[in-house]
Amino acid sequence: MQASNWQALKAVMQRDLMVVMRRRSDVLNPLLFVLMVVTLFPLAVGPGPDILGRIAAGVIWVAALLSALLGSERLFREDYLDGTLEQMTLQPQPLPLLAFGKMAVHWLLSGLPLVILAPLCALLLKLPMAGWWALVATLLVGTPILSAITAIGAALTVSLGRGGALLSLLLLPLFIPLLIFASGAVEAALVGTEAWPQVLLLAGLSLLTLLLAPFAVAASIRVSVN
Amino acid sequence: MQFDSWQAFINMGGYGFYVWLAFGVSFLALALVVVQGLQARRKLQQEFVKEQQRQQRLARRKREVT
């Protein structure tokens, strides 16, 4: 009997969740990395609230981008090595759907914790209260883009074995709009104007990315396993 | 003709350094692309020659054995 698409999606997600839950350091390390970067900045530029408050949103977002790159290896690497990825390409269920499942789990375990961690980072960097909700809102709608684009890069480089620097070269230019609109939203909130337009724009971009990325990821997986 | 003398042309109304730097680096970069393309072709040709010599060596050895 053939599993329905829905069942296949659920199976992929459950499996990925279980794998990661057995190795929690994969989830924790990128978050600790963000926390470290946030700690380094006051030490580098001085703890004055005027400087820190202004650069807080930018620092947190840049740290989020870099941590996404750090954690990207685990998305497909082991599945590629043990042949799971190849099995996935042979399934009767559409590959983009399965890729979407993996992206969703990646977001749950890297994007969502970042949203939860954000208030702590904002506190450490003395971000004024007015910017808090904008920061959390941009992280909430922006991190799915992060997961989706990272998944494309990870799928493209999975067969190379040495993703690292190459991956950041491929992906960082694609993150630029995200970075600009997200920090723009926080800045708008800080100066007391509406941050909604940017947040909604990010949400739109997020939806567009989620719609197109699974196909790009599926195509990349097919290129990589062959 | 906008310039009275060769000197004035080089000087570019005081902007000579910038204008000639921009043009110089641009055409240097383009020249490098052309040279690199020509070199790549020569390298392919050498690869062919090497391959051919190897084949000839192999054929000769085979003849000597038989």
């Binding site: 709009p177 062959n226 | 921009a22 043009f23």
Partner: protein
């Protein structure tokens, strides 16, 4: 239409076709480039605000415009390679990317050099310069990915996907950078955005644009021919081609001696 196109899917045919066109395109590029640059550098009047420094425009604007067009061409080649699985499109991708990267670099460099006398600084975080810098990174990414694979075919497929993702992103990047620039910079830098040009400046600029387009075509054709040879090196027709070239070269040397 497919019947008509079919012979052009054969590398040998394309190689010879490109070989037949290349001298003419190169000749056209050299001729138009000489006319355009001499006209622009010597005969076009100086700008009443920027003096003679504006003459950088004759390199800057054509390369900037073509760097975008070349990325689009790259993505189209990638799309054709993906959908119709044409080897030739993969090779075109490998041929276009380096040329586009160099054009982007030239437009950035000339922009910076032009910025020094006009804005007083080599680098300004101006929207156009910034987008151009990002475009350079996109080109570098495509090339790096292509060369990261030991198998050229896989490399071309992977780089093609990246190019297509990039081409969807470019309008978003442009828009975001422009928005960011308007946010952080009250004063707009209008060096590149000028009132309609006088014909005496516009004509040489248009000729330069044509010249750089022809030059890009010639460079891409040259690289495409190399790429065809590289991929088909073990085929009889390439061997015959090289053998003929070598005997011709030898005969030429003997004739001289």
């Amino acid at each position: 239409m497919w019947r008509w196109l079919h012979p052009y899917a054969k590398p040998e045919v394309v190689y010879h076709l490109l070989g037949r066109w290349l001298p003419w395109v190169t000749l056209g590029a050299v001729a138009t480039l000489s006319i355009g640059l001499i006209w622009g550098l010597v005969f076009a009047p100086a700008d009443y605000q920027q003096g003679d420094s504006y003459r950088i425009i004759f390199v800057h604007v054509p390369t900037a415009m073509l760097s975008m067009s070349l990325y689009l061409a790259l993505a189209i080649a990638a799309f054709i390679g993906r959908v119709w699985q044409l080897k030739m499109a993969d090779w075109a991708l490998a041929a276009i990317a380096p040329v586009g990267m160099v054009y982007t670099f030239i437009s950035l460099f000339t922009g910076a050099v032009w910025g020094k006398p006009m804005w007083g600084t080599w680098w300004e975080w101006d929207a156009r310069l910034t987008s151009q810098l990002i475009l350079l990174f996109l080109y570098i990414g495509v090339l790096a990915l292509y060369h990261a694979f030991s198998d050229n075919r896989t490399g071309a497929k992977a780089a093609g996907i990246l190019a297509m993702v990039g081409v969807i992103n470019i309008p978003i990047i442009r828009y975001s950078v422009e928005w960011w620039n308007s946010l952080h910079q009250g004063a707009t830098l209008t060096v590149f955005e000028r009132p309609p040009m006088a014909d005496s400046m516009l004509y040489p600029l248009l000729i330069c644009l044509l010249a750089f387009a022809l030059l890009a075509a010639a460079l891409v054709m040259q690289r495409m021919r190399n790429e065809i040879l590289r991929q088909e090196l073990r085929r009889p027709w390439v061997k015959a081609q090289f053998a003929a070239e070598l005997t011709e070269a030898n005969n030429g040397q003997k004739g001289q001696a």
